[in-house]
């Protein structure tokens, strides 16, 4: 799985502080455009914090401070000229708990394209909504009730709606922070299948507590521990023959 394509995102010596506490310590990692990258590690290891750095989600936390270099297609995303709203359209996010807007299914998906001016008129917007819901594997289930509230859907459907919402603004990267931890196994399987279908079209980064999930959906895996990135490699290598003892102890259930 060697690739010559330049990484979609490139991070160098990224450290994050919450006040005095260093949550992420000098992490350098390249996010490939064509693969799913999984971040694993015990609670508090810094993996979610690091994920949130990738689209400046930490900006909303006053005590958070980020150091180091984070580039998207070679552009420093923490540069003052970077438009954060634009950045978050390019680097979308899906959260642990599905969080649809308390609006109709249609509006949930149409909202982003509308504020970003991606559609000219109703017909185009309808097309974007349909395509996004199709890619999220939800269209057939909701096409007859687009006016119903997004919050009336099941948990798994809500999460796929959130993915459709992220897709609708044509992102280049999708960050997923434990997208299945609030879902049952069938809804989880649907999301995992969806992630596999979206792979290649978007660079996907997923934080998960389920090592089985990381093994199932990703091609690259990074193991975080105590704020540091301990090991990063091909998923099959990490799970069959990790190089670092700490990685091995974690994935075999001897630590954590």
């Amino acid at each position: 799985m060697v690739t010559n394509a330049p990484p979609k995102m490139c991070t160098r010596d990224v450290s994050v502080w919450y006040g005095e506490k260093k949550a992420v310590d000098a992490v350098s990692i390249d996010i490939p455009a064509e693969f799913v990258t999984a971040f694993i590690g015990p609670s508090g290891c810094g993996k979610s914090t690091f994920l949130r750095v990738l689209n400046r989600m930490n900006d909303t936390i006053p005590s958070a401070r980020v150091e180091g270099c984070i580039e998207l297609d070679g552009d420093d995303i923490y540069a003052s000229r970077m438009d954060v709203v634009q950045l978050r359209a390019r680097v979308g996010m899906v959260f642990q708990k599905p969080n649809p807007f308390p609006k109709s299914i249609y509006e949930n998906v149409a909202y982003g394209p509308r504020i970003h001016g991606l559609a000219e008129g109703k017909v185009e917007l309808d097309a974007i909504v349909e395509q996004s819901l199709r890619r999220a594997g939800l269209w057939d289930e909701v096409k007859d009730r687009l006016a119903d509230s997004g919050t009336a859907l099941s948990g798994g459907q809500q999460q796929r709606l959130c993915i459709a919402r992220a897709i609708a603004v044509q992102p280049e990267v999708i960050l997923m922070d434990e997208p299945c931890s609030a879902l049952d196994p069938i809804a989880t399987a649907k999301i995992e299948e969806l992630i596999d279908e979206l792979r290649g079209r978007y660079a996907i980064v997923i934080v998960t507590h389920s090592m089985q999930q990381a093994a199932r959906v990703s091609q690259r895996t990074a193991f975080f521990h105590l704020g540091k990135m301990v090991e990063y490699g091909e998923t099959s290598q990490i799970f069959t023959n990790p190089r670092e003892v700490r990685t091995k102890d974690y994935i075999t259930g001897r630590y954590g």
Partner: protein, 220 residues
């Protein structure tokens, strides 16, 4: 190695390793007793070897069940996964080694005029090396010792050299005295079986190496 957070996982793995060790012990004894029966012509002992092979078959089935259970229930990763896959394969190979010993024992009654065959001193010496390989490779598995596994692999040359020499020897008997052909052919099969045991021990050694380090040993 530190223990698993889930203690029952360690118990499962210990049990699996115990089964493999038991199989190895039985296979080793089967080779030694088959040899003794062959040299002395003790057909009762030969029958006992044949009968005891059932125990090896049952243990192999138990190893399979246990390994599948662990994979299904514990979802092992990394060295745990490699070890369980290795145990699964080693169980099958040791069972085969037992079959070769059984096959040797079955030929005991077919050998006539034992005293005239010089290979009857060479074959036990060959079998001793092969049995030693089986013993050492299971020690290597128990100790997760890739260095000892490599030593086992190197020893296979000795077994092969024995085989070549015994082969030539037996062929010359057959050429010189056609009356020996039947017994000599039986002994040829015996030597062949021991040679296969050496190869199987080598395969196990490769798996031990893989379980310990995640790579197959480099070719000699």
């Amino acid at each position: 190695m530190p223990e698993h957070t889930v203690k029952a996982f360690d118990e499962d793995i210990t049990r699996l390793r115990g089964l493999i060790a038991e199989m190895g012990g039985l296979a080793e004894v089967a080779i030694e007793e088959a040899m003794r029966a062959l040299v002395t012509g003790d057909e009762d002992l030969a029958e006992a070897v044949v009968a005891r092979d059932k125990r090896l078959d049952a243990l192999e089935a138990e190893v399979d069940t246990m390994a599948i259970r662990i994979i299904a229930l514990r979802a092992p990763m990394a060295d745990d996964l490699r070890e369980i896959i290795a145990a699964l394969k080693i169980g099958g190979v040791v069972e085969r080694i037992g079959d070769y010993a059984k096959n040797i024992a079955k030929r005991v009654g077919e050998i006539e005029d034992r005293k005239r065959f010089e290979p009857l001193t060479l074959i036990p010496a060959m079998a001793e090396v092969a049995a030693e390989m089986v013993h050492d490779v299971l020690t290597a598995f128990a100790a997760r010792d890739p260095v000892l596994a490599r030593e086992v692999i190197d020893k296979d040359e000795k077994v092969d050299a024995f085989y070549d020499s015994i082969f030539r020897n037996l062929v010359s008997y057959m050429v010189e005295n056609p009356a020996t052909i039947s017994s000599a052919a039986q002994l040829l099969f015996v030597a062949r079986n021991i040679e296969r045991i050496g190869d199987h021990a080598t395969n196990v050694a490769e798996m031990v190496h893989f379980a310990a380090l995640g790579t197959l040993p480099p070719d000699r």
